[in-house]
Amino acid sequence: METGRCLFVGVGGQGNLLASNLLGQAALSMGIHVVVSEIHGMAQRGGVVESAVLMGNVKSPIISNAEADILVSFEPLETMRILGKCNKKTLVITNAQPLPPFTVSLGQGVYPPVEEMLEKIKTRVEKLIALRGNDLAEEAGNPLSLNMVMLGALIGSGAVPVTEDVMKETISTSTKKAFLESNLKAFDLGAQASKKLS
């Protein structure tokens, strides 16, 4: 298969490491060669958290500037910040609902206007899928299921060779029973929203 370089970005606590790990497991179970990279430790204390899933004919675990085929971002400011990893052929899937950093609360910076920025991004990449991820997670019954919404949006876009069935199977085997229903619902809502926007 062709190489797919999928970059995940989020804020500590949003669960993007779990999402990239699950995608990696699902890919492996389909016999797709996969490497997943993550950053742990100090970087996680409320800071930006990046992970990458590389599938197909590729050995390197990380993605260089301008080389992401897909960006899945859990937070719009982080979409803007990491855009240098993308090129004009990149598919960008982003949550459109901000989680302002503390520097904004302290008056050390201004949160950029989301709609306006997303419009700019849209014209510079192959495709932009922007969804109200937190609302969908609420609707699924668990505000912490944003990562499942975003994973659903990625699989729903059809941009990676992992099927919905295999992804849901992987989610099912690695989710605690209490969260299973809301996680699967969040995944479905993300997938539907992304198909509608594709």
């Binding site: 804020v11 500590g12 790990n21 990696g24 497991q25 492996l28 060669h33 996969v34 490497v35 997943v36 990279s37 993550e38 950053i39 742990h40 430790g41 100090m42 970087a43 996680q44 204390r45 409320g46 800071g47 004919n57 590729v58 050995k59 390197s60 675990p61 990380i62 993605i63 260089s64 500037n65 301008a66 400011l77 982080e78 803007m80 910040r81 855009l83 240098g84 990893k85 993308c86 090129n87 990149t90 302002p100 950093p101 503390f102 520097t103 904004v104 609360s105 302290l106 008056g107 050390q108 910076g109 201004v110 949160y111 950029p112 920025m117 700019k120 991004i121 510079r124 990449v125 505000p143």
Partner: protein
């Protein structure tokens, strides 16, 4: 059952590099493991900690890396297969036993896992620990992916036993924290007890013994060279005229670049997996037919220099380069694009790097630095110390979450160099200046290397205040236990060593124990210690809130809110504490009830008493 105990050889699992190392050790019949945690090595001992609770594997979190190395040495010299893990700077702490353990050697296999951190994702420096192999003459293996991390860990035990030497397995962040498919092998039974055979003229390193042992080490080194020459871990790939040499994660960048550039038939790649001792003859055979060689290695030009030496000794005159080609430098980590560009430039291949999305017209984006968590007790402690000491005092700090206290508005941190340095550097600061000194250290770091500094401060009559921030766990690296933790929080029946008892036992006379969420009493204690003419210690005790939640001891407090009828918008809460549960909406501060843990500290800071617990 722990997933790494899955006994089905041939099964492929997605494993984190660090999990793969742990699995490799289990497949080698590991009996005894020690560590001090440190990113990016911590997930290896995490596996052993869990597995030791359900098997007869012995595992301990040791007080520091030197101790961990020596505990492991005792077991390995006795005859048990042993592993000790640490981050790169941890090996500095363990360097003393390392150097002479190389002389004595070991009886059973001993593998030292060393995790380097190029780009300093979670470290105070990015030293290249390949030099430790050279300094100690110990063999070093550098796997390049998760499968090799498992397989070569097993091989490292066998190598160690053949040479009767500890073997260093070196990883970097991009190996330790990468997940990939790993085909499992067979689990081996463990030999968990043994009998030590006395041999004092081999193990007691007095000068007369060590003179002989140094000769022995050099003989073992020669054997290691033989093994390196013939090891499948060192591999020549391809037979083109352009040479590329790489180690560790860079091997992947090179392989991808060669494929992307379509130059498979033009290159010969030397993959150095058994990277020390260097396979000298193999390097000569590799270089002889080549036009020129590019060395792709992160951090220091270690291999580059050794290849140049080998070439000079054998009369080879081909060009050998590494650092300085393209963007390949001694700084930070490499990446696929950088390596592709370097190779293209060096071998003069037409190549255009892809263009990133243009963001030059984007507004300045607000930063998102890491921050102390909502309700973190360190914030309260920093606030109290700052209230008393003002801004002119010197605040040496140490390694842990509380290092983040350096960020504004707390701005409490003037020096960090290594674990334990807060205490000892305070001795120097307080003698060299007339400024007040109040330093910070965490509980785990205090046990790691703060105690000797404290004894020094007592004995040499230094005058400063040491604040020990005791949050009941090793928070930064993922809540590992240490000697001061409550036994009930670990599920292990191990005695607790009290921080306060240690402090008093060291001879400190002025000792205060405070609960930092009680600001008034904490400030009183800080003031008393500042006015005390001598050395003071304040033990500030409160659980890390993340840890408390994990062990079911979370505060049962209600979250707080800002009462808009009372708030006069002084903003002391947000300007002085900067708790991430607070946010501005327009000009008004609010508290996010989902983040607030009810620590009450902001309510105590508010001059209008406008911050109150939510009802119901």
């Amino acid at each position: 059952m722990h997933k790494l105990l899955t006994d089905s050889p041939g099964t492929e699992m997605l494993l984190l590099g660090n999990e793969a190392i742990a699995r490799g050790a289990l497949e080698a019949g590991l009996a005894f493991a020690t560590c001090y945690p440190g990113t990016p090595s911590s997930e290896i001992p995490e596996q052993f900690f869990a597995i030791s609770k359900e098997t007869d594997l012995y595992f301990e979190y040791s007080t520091n890396e030197k101790v961990a190395m020596e505990v492991a040495a005792g077991a390995a010299i006795s005859g048990l297969r042993t592993m000790v893990t640490m981050k790169h700077v941890g090996l500095n702490v363990a360097a003393d036993p390392l150097m002479t353990l190389a002389y004595t050697g070991v009886e059973a296999g001993m593998v030292i896992v060393n995790a380097d951190d190029p780009y300093l994702f979670s470290s105070q420096n990015e030293q290249d620990n390949r030099y430790y192999a050279r300094l100690s003459s110990l063999p070093m293996l550098e796997p390049t992916n998760t499968q090799e991390m498992k397989d070569w860990t097993k091989a490292a035990f066998e190598l160690s036993e053949e040479l009767k030497l500890p073997v260093i397995l070196r990883t970097t962040t991009r190996l330790a924290h990468v997940r990939g498919g790993v085909k499992l092998g067979e689990l081996q039974p463990r030999k968990v007890k043994t009998t030590f055979k006395k041999d004092p003229f081999h193990y007691v390193c007095v000068p007369a013994v060590s003179r002989e042992l140094h000769k022995l080490l050099l003989r073992k080194y020669d054997q290691a060279v033989e093994k390196s020459e013939n090891s499948p871990m060192n591999e020549i790939i391809g037979n083109g005229p352009w040479g590329i040499v790489a180690n560790g994660v860079s091997v992947n960048y090179v392989m991808d670049a060669v494929s992307d550039l379509g130059i498979e038939d033009k290159v010969s790649i030397l993959k150095l997996g058994f990277s020390y001792p260097m396979p000298r003859d193999l390097c000569v055979r590799f270089m002889e037919p080549l036009e020129k060689v590019l060395v792709v290695e992160e951090l220091e030009p270690v291999v580059e220099h050794e290849l140049k030496t080998i070439a000079q000794e054998t009369g080879l005159t081909l060009e050998i380069k590494g650092k300085g080609v393209g963007e390949l430098s001694r700084l930070f980590e490499y990446n696929p694009g950088m390596v592709r560009k370097g190779i293209a430039e060096y071998f003069e291949i037409d190549y255009k790097a892809p263009l990133p999305v243009d963001t030059s017209d984007f507004p300045a984006l607000p930063g998102r630095p890491p921050n102390l968590c909502a309700g973190c007790p360190h914030r309260a402690t920093f606030y109290a110390v700052k209230q008393v000491y003002g801004t002119d005092a010197i605040h040496p700090t140490d390694i842990g979450c509380y290092t983040l206290g350096l960020l504004p508005p707390l701005s409490m941190g003037d020096l960090v160099i290594c674990m334990g340095s807060s205490v000892s550097s305070s001795c120097g600061f307080s003698r060299a200046t007339d400024q007040k000194v109040a330093s910070f250290i965490g509980d785990s770091t205090f046990f790691h290397s703060g105690i000797t500094g404290l004894v020094n401060a007592v004995h040499n009559n230094h005058k400063f205040t040491l604040v020990i921030m005791d949050n009941g766990t090793t928070a930064m690296t993922g809540h590992q236990p240490h000697p001061g933790v409550e036994p009930e929080t670990t599920g292990l029946d191990l005695p607790k060593v009290s921080v306060e008892d240690v402090v008093r036992g060291c001879g400190v006379k002025d000792v205060h124990v405070v609960r930092p969420y009680n600001l008034k009493k904490t400030i009183e204690a800080v003031r008393a210690s500042m006015e005390y003419d001598g050395l003071s210690v304040i033990v500030s005790k409160e659980y890390c809130p993340l840890f408390a939640r994990r062990i079911g001891k979370a505060r049962k407090a209600r979250p707080f809110y800002v009462n808009l009828d009372k708030c006069k918008n002084h903003r002391d809460c947000i300007n002085l504490l900067a708790c991430p549960a607070m946010f501005l909406e327009g000009e008004q501060v609010h508290i996010d009830k989902n983040l607030c843990i009810g620590c009450t500290v902001c309510a105590q800071v508010c001059p209008e008493n406008a911050i109150m617990p939510l009802k119901g």
